[in-house]
Symmetry: C2
Subunit: 145 residues, 2 copies
């Protein structure tokens, strides 16, 4: 059960992506206790290979200036693209819904001093497992395999 | 003097960005000897903090499937965001116009087995130096300082 409201918001984004026929990964950016950006993977919807959930979310947040104090939530451990965004823009805390289905760039981020929390949320795991079983080629495309 | 035609194309993109009042960094993606994507930084133009030159270029290239054999050119050494894209999507070769004004993620990419060539191109250096001197706050914003 997802109790954290921000993880739930990210999961709502992921489910919206799934309903759109896309890759069900969602993300929200939180600063000072409120969501300042939200998004989901739109590779399929926009034909944009860079529109990973976290990138879509950070794009939606816009030019916020400093990311100090901001926390990036994602239903899935961020990949290297999204981990690179975290490191480059100085986001110091990442909450990932799960990393069972994809290890992502957790170790890279931690090596750069980012606090990475893995929630091992079963709802997040179940959504990704369903998607990967249904559309393995799309999933492989999205992570460059 | 930039003799490589693909680096020249990236520099043309960078100059277009400068003319638009933006951050003058350009990029092209080359596969099988031809440009399949091109772009430039559009943080200012689109209000999009994720629209680094390389991301804009990879977005423009679209869903190409495999990046095997593709070479990413950029007028400036890719930052961690863009280096993360390179690593995640399996781009194995990066040609950077220069790294004097910004070291970027060169070592990270090399550590992941990417061949990174630094051209130390004086035109690329001059354009970045001019921009950084004119708009230092904008440059710092773009790299998360």
């Amino acid at each position: 059960m997802s109790v954290d409201p921000f993880l739930k918001a990210a999961l709502d984004e992921a489910r919206q992506g799934y309903a759109e026929g896309g890759i069900p990964i969602g993300s929200v950016l939180v600063k000072a206790g409120r969501i300042i950006g939200r998004g989901h993977n739109r590779r399929v919807q926009q034909g944009d290979p860079m529109a990973h959930a976290e990138i879509d979310c950070l794009r939606a947040a816009g030019r916020i200036g400093s990311y100090a104090g901001a926390v990036l939530y994602s239903t899935l451990m961020p990949c290297y693209l999204c981990s690179g965004a975290v490191v480059q823009f100085g986001i110091r805390k990442v909450y990932a819904g799960e990393s069972k289905t994809f290890a992502g760039g957790a170790e890279f981020m931690r090596g750069q001093g980012v606090e990475v929390v893995d929630w091992a949320d079963e709802e997040c795991v179940a959504l990704m497992r369903r998607f990967i079983a249904e559309k393995p080629e799309l999933w492989n495309e999205d992570i460059g395999r």
